[in-house]
Amino acid sequence: MFMQFVHSFDAFLEPTIFLAIAAGTVLGLIFGSLPGLTATMGIALLLPLTFSMPPISGMGMLFGMYCGAISGGSIPAALLNIPGTPSSVATTLDAYPMSKRGEPGRALGLCVVASFIGGIISVLVFALLSPIIAKAALEFSAVEYFSLGIFGLTIIASVSGQSIVKGLVAGLIGVLISLIGIDSLSGIVRLTADIPDLIGGVDFMPALIGLFALSQIIGDIVSSRNAKGAEIKIKVDNAYPRFKETFGLWRVWSVSSVIGSLVGAVPGAGGSIASFLAYDVAKRQSKTPEKFQTGHNEGIVACESANNGMTGGALIPMMTLGIPGDASAAVLMGGLLIHGLQPGPLLFQDHADIAYGIIIAFLIANIFMFCFQAVGIKLFVKVLQIPRSFLMPFILVMCIVGAYGISGSLTSAWILLFFGIFGYFLNRYGFSSAPVVLGMILGYMVESNFRRSMAMYDSDWTIFFSHPISLGFILLSVVSILLPFYYRYKSAKK
């Protein structure tokens, strides 16, 4: 493993990789700073641009966007009490009160260092666990993959959106979409409604950009959210990294970063759960719990270490098992697919140089994220002043041109529009777009492995229960469906 890591460094002799990662990180910080623009949306927008790049450069750029946006989300959270991304919701609890009492620079400085530490610990967890899990997953047969796919679908559907039923409906719609086109096992063309463009299946990339970027733009314009963005003027003094103060809180950031990484590795959990959990643990362990929610440095460090700690964790199931940990990981998975690389255990076996190169690119993205914020945090604060009436049209054209650019066909632009409108209505009525995309990714995995298992074991359904690992995943699926009901019952009882 160590030698493979060393060999992967060869790819980094090419300076363009660093440029790509730096560009992705700066764009990520800008995206994260703008309320309403999420990391997922940013990655979806950048995807087409990585098409012509070598895989490590392309993924490095997307990782830069991912880390930058998650960290940049703390800027409006600290200064305006508006989380830039969903994972920085918990950051508002202490960073905003600290800013309000006249210390916005200190709040931002703590956010920068805590994000960096969380990011670096998550890289370590990602680098150490990924090869081990990938090696174990090599032993999986079609039976285990089917059960794993079902587990991925249930846990993701149950935690996304406002209701379990809506999450399941969205996930099932995604699975159905993934089945359109030629059936790879029998060669039959199915569910295309005689539309020739659908024979090869629904193009994944425009659907992705439509669901995560276009739908959000339409929603933003219709509700005219954050219309006063252009009027925001904030003076930030002393915004530099608070090393001494942060390192004094080593217990908080180490525990929170590990919590973030582990929670991130659970498919569907996401950064917002990670940061709230870390916040709760930090409060319980603190000697001064009464200071939390009044602008306490421990609260800020806990949330920011956890939400950046989550980034590496979320990549583990995506890279090793082909199961995206959250919506951003699903879009990042698209970054691998665009280069013909199938995420999963074979990635570490057949393309070890790329797999380890991607881990190194992730580390560099975190270092860049810290450097750019340490030097130019005041510039990123100014991003809050960009008028949305200029920003939205620009992003919209990027979506359409990007979708066209991947395939060179306007059919992609129409698919983008369809999924953009569909995603808008899903969001409007309390569904989430994430399970649709995850269903699209996992649908094929579930179906093909189910049918293979049936063919291999003479239609014996009990096979899924007699293989221990498969049974484990099925039990986890049942738990993941029942757990939200249990929590609801418990809270109703209170």
């Binding site: 087409p48 641009l49 098409f51 012509s52 790049m53 039923v165 809506k166 399941l168 409906v169 099932l172 719609i173 699975v175 159905l176 089945l179 096992l185 029998s186 039959i188 199915r190 569910l191 409604a193 339409i218 314009i221 219709v222 509700s223 005219s224 219309a227 252009a230 008028p387 949305r388 009436s389 200029f390 939205m392 049209p393 620009f394 919209l396 054209v397 990027m398 359409i400 041109v401 990007g402 066209y404 650019g405 306007l410 632009a413 129409w414 529009l417 953009g420 409108i421 209505f425 409007r428 009525y429 309390g430 579930v446 179906e447 189910f450 049918r451 049936m454 063919a455 003479d458 239609s459």
Partner: protein
């Protein structure tokens, strides 16, 4: 007491879509492929039935739920219709008049629509000039990034 809400229309669309795909799934030929393979129609049928069942459940449950009614306001409706119409026309004219002309026109009109919706910019001569300048510079920069820097094809 029943409460009809805007989302019921969406649920009807979802049910119609699931019904349509169920019909398509039913028409998939069976008996082709490997022995013991449940067939290419098996999972699509199961999925469509599940979607129909779950959406029907949502339809009934929310029909009976007494919650705040969600309806498009007049302003929201015009914003949505205007946005979608402009995107539709843009994609349509992209292949007819090419990237440059269509993008400049689209960005100009869309920026004006956004300024109107966000109440920023006004109707002054200067604001129109700013919109025109923005459209031109934004089109050039998108062309530079996609076509020159990343060598991607544009319509």
């Amino acid at each position: 007491m029943f409460h009809l809400k805007e989302q019921h229309v969406f649920y009807l669309f979802l049910m119609a879509g699931a019904g349509f795909f169920l019909k398509l799934s039913w028409d998939i030929p069976s008996g082709i492929g490997v022995e013991n393979d449940p067939g290419a129609a098996f999972l699509p049928i199961v999925i469509c039935v599940l979607i129909l069942f779950l959406v029907s459940y949502l339809f009934v449950i929310e029909f009976r739920e007494k919650s705040e009614k969600l309806f498009f306001s007049r302003a929201e409706f015009f914003a949505l219709a205007g946005t979608l119409l402009l995107i539709f026309v843009y994609i349509f004219i992209l292949s007819l008049i090419g990237f440059f002309a269509s993008t400049i026109i689209f960005l100009f009109l869309f920026q004006r629509l956004n300024s109107y919706l966000l109440n920023s910019g006004g109707l002054s001569y200067k604001s129109y000039l700013v919109s025109a300048l923005f459209s031109f510079i934004a089109t050039l920069s998108i062309y530079f990034v996609f076509s020159v820097l990343f060598k991607m094809s544009l319509p």
